[in-house]
């Protein structure tokens, strides 16, 4: 039997050193003060501060300060101890026994223990209520058993290897069971966790106010110090408009702002008084998905011709002004088993070849240079609901001009969320794009495994080999074999042109030089525990 407890300690020990070294401050951290953070939170008017029920990245960036997780994701993509100090996995890999840290309390004063872990996971699994966003994170969860005050066993119907990494996600942050019982669904406006900051108040859509948790003693091994946060108050202010957000930072109305647009990145780097903190977001890269159930994409050659007519290097360089790299693999480079290295340079734009394929397939140039076959025009409708977030519509506009040279007519079909999802579910679209933050390559199964994806999935892949690899990947206990399964999956997605990855997103925070110790965790979410302000 594998002694995971020892392994966890082994993994954690060397980490304490570099973490300590990284934290060596030029001067001593100064406690106190209020940090105001300009959050790229989109035009939402209701904050959902329920970690189990939000896949919305901006809100997950807030969760990390309020909620802790059982385990922490380490820079090497393994997991280390946090609220759980050690764990053992049964030989059949269907049971995980966690030993929990003692002396941890929730913000409401109730103790964190085995019953709390069970209550949280049971809540996520509860099929009686509306399914929560975190449901796929626990996979084939069968139940939990409280073995002792500080020992809990999680049982699965079948092995589910992504579980440990998923437990490190904000979406499986541990909520106070007492607060859950007290507030019910209103927990989303009254969050209670064990994190370094506790909730004070919120103004819907505008700001979230947190204050220091003075009892905090259980920071993960990745943190610079174990004790309470330095900041007295932490205020997230939702500034959806990027120009306003950058202006608020430049005029120092906020100490920090995220989602810095490319046109301001160079300026902030060179401006005195400001710094830029950035790190790759662990992400299913922003990818264009072709609706494989529908002509013309049911023909692999036409899909290939479409991609050959795209020059992604030029496109990404022009739209993002060289501030981020283009993507070759579906999952971002730092994720375990990303095929970024294997896929780099795997195809080149070739307009002449694209034209040759389309000619051979009987698509002849028609009016306005758009190709036609049997009276049908070669039109491609791009379904969209997010507007120009991360300049994604600029990407499509640019692509539109590139593919027009080969005779494709690419149009943008912008719809409200409800209509968009209806269109994806009914298959009434040709092309769409999406990204999804995740620490484990198993996120691919949510798109490309037919029986594990939702009806409104942006991907319609139905490839027996990919299905087999993704199913095996959830159950394969050997990391090397597991990596190979995901690597093959990604290579096949590209080889068959089922999906076209576009760019790798770095999460970017602009800060004033008054801010010290701001870090980004291994998932790519901001950490405020070590932050302190100059006078």
């Amino acid at each position: 039997m594998l002694h995971r407890r020892q392994l966890a300690t082994l993994l954690a020990a060397p980490l304490l050193l570099p973490a300590g070294a990284r934290a060596q401050p030029t001067s001593t951290p100064k406690p106190g003060g209020e940090l105001s953070f300009g959050l790229d939170g989109a035009a939402v008017s209701s904050f959902v501060l329920d970690p189990h029920d939000s896949g919305f990245a901006p809100h997950n960036r807030v969760f990390r300060s309020i909620y802790d997780s059982l385990v922490v994701l380490l820079p090497d993509q393994n997991v280390g101890p946090w609220l759980a100090t050690a764990w053992e996995i049964s030989p059949d890999r269907r049971s995980y026994t966690f030993t929990l840290r003692r002396g941890v309390t929730f913000h409401d004063g109730t103790p964190f223990n085995a019953a709390a872990v069970k209550a949280n996971l049971d809540r996520v699994a509860d099929a009686q209520s509306r399914p929560l966003t975190a449901l796929p994170d626990i996979g084939p969860y069968a139940g939990s058993e409280v073995l002792a005050e500080d020992r809990v066993r999680i049982d699965l119907h079948r092995p589910f290897e992504p579980l440990l990494r998923n437990l490190s996600k904000t979406t499986l942050g541990i909520i106070s069971p007492a607060a859950l019982a007290k507030h019910g669904a209103a927990i989303a406006q009254n969050p209670v966790g064990t994190g370094p900051f506790r909730f004070v108040s919120l103004v819907q859509g505008v700001e979230i106010v947190l204050e220091r948790n003075p009892d905090y003693r259980w920071a993960p091994p990745t943190a610079a110090h174990e004790g309470p946060a330095y900041l007295q108050r932490l205020v997230f202010r939702n500034v959806p408009e990027e120009a306003t957000r950058v202006a608020a930072l430049q005029s120092r109305q906020v100490h920090a702002a995220d989602g810095i647009p490319p046109q301001n990145i160079a300026a902030l780097r060179s401006a005195s008084g400001f710094r830029l903190v950035e790190k790759e977001l662990l992400n299913l890269n922003y990818t264009l998905y072709l609706n494989l159930n529908k002509a013309p994409w049911d023909d692999e050659d036409v899909r290939r011709a479409f991609r050959l007519s795209l020059d992604l290097d030029a496109l990404v360089r022009v739209v993002y002004l060289g501030t981020l790299p283009r993507a070759w693999a579906p999952v971002s480079p730092s994720i375990f088993a990303s095929a970024e290295k294997e896929l780099r340079g795997s195809w080149k734009p070739d307009l002449a070849e694209a034209i040759r394929i389309l000619d051979a397939k009987g698509w002849r140039p028609g009016a306005g240079g758009i190709r036609e076959k049997d009276g049908k025009r070669l039109t491609v409708s791009f379904a969209d609901t997010q507007g120009n977030r991360e300049k994604r519509l600029d990407v499509i506009q640019f692509a539109r001009r590139q593919v027009a040279r080969a005779g494709f007519d690419l149009s943008i079909d912008s719809q409200p969320n409800s209509t968009y999802r209806q269109k994806l579910a009914s298959g009434d679209y040709d092309l769409s794009g999406a990204s999804q933050f995740a620490p484990d390559p198993d996120v691919l199964a949510r798109l490309h495994l037919p029986d594990q994806r939702v009806a409104s999935s942006v991907a319609k892949t139905n490839d027996p080999e990919i299905s087999r690899w993704l199913t095996e990947g959830q159950q394969e206990g050997d990391p090397e074999k597991r990596a190979d399964l995901y690597n093959r999956t990604q290579r096949r997605l590209i080889e068959k042109t089922y999906a076209i990855p576009v760019y790798v997103l770095p999460y970017t925070i602009g800060i004033t030089t008054q801010v010290n110790g701001l870090s980004i965790d291994s998932h790519g979410f901001p950490e405020f525990h070590g932050v302190w302000l100059n006078a």
Binding site: V206, E241, P416, V454
Partner: protein
């Protein structure tokens, strides 16, 4: 005055009809838009059964006309319903956002009136000289500006460069200055042109020449006689402009990171949160109808000739 009372009654009735019409129209449009609210509420991982259960919970499984009657019935009792997305009463969600939007709209209207009428008169009495040209050019510049662009320029100048005013948030008066200026100045530009043209027209009328010939001071001619006659078309335009200001808050609230009905509405639309959309539209249409009622009544105050006929 019976005629005045019947005028009020008729205007009141037609206002109620306008509101009912608006609510009905929005209800039908929302119903016919594709997308099932239950699926959106249920979320990505929902099973078919849980979507069906939520549909029953929301009441969207019932035939259209029953949903409509239930909605109108609740409305008559003052119940705006429950938000699909957050399960909070719609009235609470609206009330949390409305004061911010109301404050913004009223102050922007005040800026529009003061600046629009003031500069309009100034331009008219300086007809043809450099003051007139300067005012006209500035106002043309303002009215040609989309609000998001003028807003960004205001932020760059007053918040980033001069650092006089905050660019974001709602709550304090200082935080209102830039958004109010942004909305108010654009509306002022349109009012100013109307005031200027209207005052110039009236100044050409024979009765003005008579008043001047009588030796009445120019100040009295202008403010007691000319302005009163010139204001009628301006007030009509003002009723329309307030409606535009209300809808303009959708953009301005997002730009200046403020609370407000505009943002609530955009959010609710993307979630197909029908009760919230209905509530926000109802609130906006009531405000609009009320303002135009006030506008109609003020005609009578300003011009006695309009008092009896109505």
């Amino acid at each position: 005055m019976p005629s005045h009372a019947s005028f009020l009654l008729r205007r009141g009735l037609s206002s109620v009809l306008v509101i009912i019409g608006t609510v009905t129209l929005v209800f039908l449009i929302l119903y016919w838009l594709p997308g099932d609210p239950a699926e959106l509420v249920a979320g990505e991982n929902a099973t078919r059964e849980s979507v069906a259960r939520i549909r029953v919970l929301l009441g969207t499984d019932r035939p259209l006309w029953i949903q409509y009657l239930a909605y109108v019935g609740d409305l008559a009792r003052g119940d705006l319903g429950t938000s699909f997305a957050t399960q909070e009463p719609v009235s609470l969600r609206l009330w949390a956002q409305f004061p911010a939007t109301l404050g913004l709209t009223l102050l922007a209207s005040a800026v529009a009136i003061v600046a629009g009428i003031g500069f309009g008169i100034l331009a008219a009495v300086n007809h043809g000289n450099w003051v007139d040209h300067a005012i006209q050019n500035v106002m043309l510049f303002l009215t040609s500006m989309p609000s998001f662009w003028l807003g960004i320029l205001l932020i760059l100048l007053f918040s980033v460069t001069l650092q006089w005013l905050p660019a974001i948030g709602s709550g304090s008066l200082a935080q209102l200055v830039l958004p109010v200026a942004c909305l108010g100045l654009i509306a002022a530009g349109r009012l100013m042109r109307m005031v200027r043209d209207s005052v110039l027209d009236v100044l050409q009328e024979p009765f003005v020449t008579t008043l001047r010939a009588k030796g009445l001071p120019e100040r009295l001619v202008l403010f007691r006689h000319v302005l009163r006659n010139a204001l009628i078309p301006v007030i009509t335009l003002f009723g329309i402009i307030v409606g535009e200001l209300l809808s303009g808050t959708v953009v301005v609230e997002s730009l200046f990171a403020r609370q407000g009905i505009g943002r609530l509405l955009v959010d609710a639309l993307s979630m197909k949160d029908i009760p919230v959309i209905q509530g926000a539209v109802l609130l906006a249409s009531i405000s609009y109808v009320l303002i135009n009622l006030v506008v109609d009544l003020s005609y009578a105050r300003i011009d006695p000739r309009l008092r009896v006929e109505g």
